[in-house]
């Protein structure tokens, strides 16, 4: 295996450019332009100013993965390009690798970040915001972005240093299991938030707290409706119109 020779400045450029991965997101080839834009400093490092036409062509095809996993793909892709440029034999080329991992990484990222970390951080933020504290958005951003920034940075390094073995390392991290744990924690926090709001509502209406339990079946019913595909907008309209009608009648 050849000696890697990408310097830290190139890594920094790729890392910063990855924040612009989706700037030209389009229906045709999704993140294709963004991915090329992200890895361009690395390609220049390997091939010089004039990147060969076949290399340009293969990195401008359809590409779509989770934006936070893109650096991991970029790291391995560049290492494979380096090997290919040095005439090294590899079981797969950079293009095949990209096509192979983008969908599984997208699914992993969606479940972990959009389905796990984000709702959990949002609920923690909401519980703090319900006390009227302006620290809530700050804390939400901190919780979410510590993991996000770490993931982008370490993904790039991991992909470059470990090349194809990075896939095994990601598998060993058992990220889908972590996503499930985070979703379970989110579900618990939803329960805590709903109970807290029910309690405050009873306090405000000067009702005994036991009346708060009435909210439980209502929330479950709405959750079931949402699960069946009823839109949030419809549920908001239904709740609002019912409450306003009650207010007008009594």
């Amino acid at each position: 295996m050849h000696t890697p020779h990408m310097n830290w400045l190139t890594f920094l450029r790729i890392y910063l450019r990855s924040f612009l991965l989706q700037s030209s997101w389009n229906f045709e080839k999704l993140q294709n332009l963004g991915f090329y834009y992200t890895i361009l400093p690395g390609l220049r490092n390997i091939y010089g100013e004039n990147v060969p036409e076949d290399v340009r062509e293969r990195h401008m095809g359809y590409f779509n993965t989770h934006p936070y996993f893109a650096t991991l793909v970029a790291g391995t892709t560049l290492r494979l390009e380096e090997g290919s440029c040095a005439g090294e034999e590899s079981p797969i080329d950079a293009e095949t690798y990209k096509n192979m991992v983008m969908a599984p990484f997208a699914a992993m990222g969606d479940a972990l970040f959009w389905g796990g970390v984000r709702p959990l951080a949002a609920l923690i933020g909401l519980l703090i915001a319900s006390q009227g504290s302006l620290w809530a958005p700050v804390l939400f951003l901190l919780i979410f972005n510590i993991l996000h920034m770490f993931f982008r940075g370490s993904g790039l390094m991991l992909g470059y240093v470990q090349e194809l073995r990075a896939i095994e390392t990601v598998q060993k991290c058992r990220l889908p299991d972590l996503a499930i744990r985070l979703k379970e924690s989110t579900t618990i926090l939803i329960g805590v938030l709903c109970a807290y709001l029910s309690f405050k509502g009873c306090e405000h209406q000067e009702l005994p707290a036991v009346w708060g339990f009435v909210i439980l079946p209502v929330v479950l019913l709405f959750a079931w409706l949402a699960h069946k595909g009823v839109s949030s907008l419809f549920l908001v309209l239904l709740t609002t119109s019912s409450l306003l009608l009650l207010a007008l009648m009594f």
């Binding site: 934006p67 389905g115 979410f144 579900t187 329960g191």
Partner: protein, 230 residues
């Protein structure tokens, strides 16, 4: 509210709008952050925080996966905050009723955000083709320009959405406020809590977890008992 305030709010709208897809994605686009940021630009961050709380959970379960475009809750939060901290006062409204009316009016207008976002992505289709052609002809700088121009289409989509929310919202606010303000005042806190509870229910319904209902019910009953008996 003076022109500078509107300008600042417009900048917040573009910045938070870009964060949704096109730039960085550090989640300043979430209503819980975009609301207070807009409120801060208009001199009242607490109004933005209240609005962010009401909107945060509503579409949180709608994942921005692939080509799926959820309603623009960012611009709904920014627009509702502008209505509540700014234009609404011209209708002689104030406080919690104004805040609730602003949110209720802005929520359906979030659908416009989907339309403008889709348009921006179609504009980017052309940019992607131009970028590809430029790169294949050896003009890397033009390819980079094409890519970065995508930020303009996403930024314009955000700005247009918030303008629609504020303009239509102001018109609706002036039209319906005299009829609804009494009922909104009466429903007050119940309406506020209900919106968050609807969001929580939607999130619960869209989070696919085994034993989810048991976990939720245990947490709910346990917390309520602790609060009740303490």
């Amino acid at each position: 509210m003076v022109a500078v305030d509107y300008l600042l709010a417009g900048m917040v709208s573009v910045l938070t709008g870009l964060d949704r897809v096109a730039f960085v994605q550090v989640m300043i686009s979430r209503p819980l952050v975009a609301g207070p940021l807009t409120g801060w630009a208009l001199g009242n961050p607490l109004v933005g925080l209240e609005i962010g709380m009401l909107l945060e959970l509503l579409w949180l379960g709608r994942l921005p996966v692939g080509a799926a475009i959820p309603p623009d809750d960012t611009q709904v939060a920014v627009g509702a905050t502008i209505l509540s901290a700014g234009t609404g006062h011209f209708a002689g409204l104030d406080g919690m009723p104004l805040l609730l009316l602003s949110v209720l009016i802005a929520i359906p207008l979030g659908k416009f955000g989907q339309v403008f976002d889709k348009l921006a992505r179609h504009v980017n289709d052309r940019l992607a083709i131009s970028g590809y052609n430029a790169l294949m002809s050896g003009n890397t700088a033009k390819m980079e320009r094409c890519h970065l121009l995508g930020l303009v289409s996403f930024g314009l989509a955000s700005l247009t959405t918030v303008m629609v929310v504020v303009l239509i919202g102001t018109f609706v606010l002036f039209s319906v406020a005299p009829f609804l303000i009494g009922a909104v005042q009466e429903a007050g806190l119940s309406l506020q809590y209900s919106l968050i509870l609807v969001g929580a229910a939607v999130l619960l319904g869209t989070t696919n977890v085994n034993r989810g209902i048991s976990l939720f019910c245990t947490a709910f009953i346990g917390t309520l008992l602790v609060l009740w008996l303490r």
